[in-house]
Point group: D2
Chain length 178, copies 4
């Protein structure tokens, strides 16, 4: 489970983390992995197939907590390598400002982003990936989709918590939303 992995590397026990989660917004990073062509245009979006905290199986993006003392850039690299393997070669963008802020709440109606576990404020980035991606043990699969496929009703139906919208917003920022 992605959540346990993160906790092991942090300074909070699972119990402490649960307590804080009921009291404070948690800082997250999310990455929409993409393949770009030689002109920088996005040709494919990478989606993981994963067992979610609510035990359903969903397509999702790379996502995880920022730890105490950790730079946002380093959290992005850590989660990308954890989910896509050590040969993925992510190109972290120089600009530190995310393409959007996804605010996840335990209640689904507040922002359109929903996480039953917590209120998190997630900094979302489109990250070109140049190497070979091998999904880690946390993920069941990893697939490259065209932008058209990524926003198709079939794929949207496999995403939860607002991740389909996050993918559309990422594609929009790079001008590749169909």
């Amino acid at each position: 489970m992605s959540d346990q992995t993160e906790t092991m590397g942090s300074w909070l026990s699972q119990e402490e983390l649960n307590t804080v989660r009921a009291r404070m917004p948690i800082v997250y990073v999310e990455a929409v992995p993409v393949r770009v062509n030689g002109s920088g245009e996005v040709e494919h979006v990478g989606l993981l197939l994963r067992v979610m905290p609510d035990e359903t199986v969903s397509r999702t993006v790379v996502s995880g907590r920022v730890l105490y003392g950790e730079r946002v850039r380093h959290a992005l690299i850590r989660h990308l390598e954890r989910d896509l393997g050590p040969l993925a070669l992510p190109m972290i963008p120089p600009d530190p400002s995310p393409f959007t802020i996804a605010e996840y709440f335990p209640e689904a109606y507040i922002s359109g982003y929903h996480d039953p576990r917590q209120h998190s404020v997630s900094l979302a980035y489109v990250v070109p990936v140049e190497g070979d991606c091998e999904p880690s043990q946390n993920a069941l699969d990893f697939t490259w989709l065209t932008p058209e496929e990524a926003v198709s009703p079939e794929v949207v139906a496999e995403m939860t918590g607002g991740h389909d919208r996050l993918v559309r917003l990422g594609l929009a920022q790079v001008g590749s939303l169909p």
Copy 2:
């Protein structure tokens, strides 16, 4: 003290907040208040004069925590009204993505942003303010400066923790960095 005011509105006691601060990055918002002309160009930047957590007196921007369950937009409005008074009429930008992410660490050398109390991840926005600003009891003064004045050595010398850089980055985003 700004910090106590925030704590009163939150779901953590000061003691609990201190514990979490040693373990988790805290979500902050920061606003660089500006006056714009009829074409949207920034003509003045507003800086507060305030007693900082380390008890020095500094010029600073509007800054504060995002509370559990609170939208980032609403945290921005709350802190702007707290610091600039109820008649300030801030125009929160439609775009939720900040112009930069300022990562404050207890150690000064990590990112150039420094807060002795905590590791915070601060979402920074340039916010046009249309009404009358009256600094609250937390602030000693509030002054509108031209961009040239705001980046002058005299004013920079009155800012700490990297706030002078945050102001320069905000002015750069709106094309008004001298």
Copy 3:
């Protein structure tokens, strides 16, 4: 015709403009007019109903040339006032960088943005409008739509040249793409 109106204010005769249009990309601005609530969230998008250069009737955004010697900000204001009337009160954003660059070509397949008259490079902005909008003589109608309505198949079918995509990208930037 919007095109003649622009030409009158510029330094090129219609014939000269036609010659240049076959040789050089032309600088345009486009504005997606929006209504925001007190927190800056976009609640409505404004679309014009207009006779297009190819004589079809389409829903469209505010659009027009930047003239020789004219600032981009002033071109935005001029076209917004021309299309929405003098009481529209547009709030030009302080940030000069557009949410996207729409590259219109005479051939439809190059970029997804299409203009039979010319190659134009259009700087696109989301512009909050606070006043009363009265479409000018160039437009048949002006309507405020919710984001859901603006991206619905019915409304998309009434847009041409890639304007439906431009509206989706604008809504995405402000986090309001459904």
Copy 4:
């Protein structure tokens, strides 16, 4: 001269270009070349030393016209390869929106950006460059500078037309403005 090179690849004679330049804003792209580390942080900025249109010698960024029928991305690649050589390996950013719009006018006082030849609207990008840079025959030299060096009074004194400000704005966008 960079200008002649561009003209050869375009659809206008030098005389026609001169005529249009007195009547229409011209679309430009500008690239601030940077070296990034493994986390995407900018460590160096690349500046050319070049004979400018006014025959002075200045430090400058990569800059040039967008031709009729050419995508902005392809214009960026073309000018980067022309100025930095075929082995520079520029990584064009996926996001098509520039970090700023630099509006150059024949009069120096309008926008702070100045070009005696023309009114140009320049789309400015920070472009990571991974390969070896060899300045072309148009440039006298090409140097990698740290951000501190690039904004130092000595280097600023060697830039004209507002290019020093453009470099500061580019560094600000990537959070590396000192």
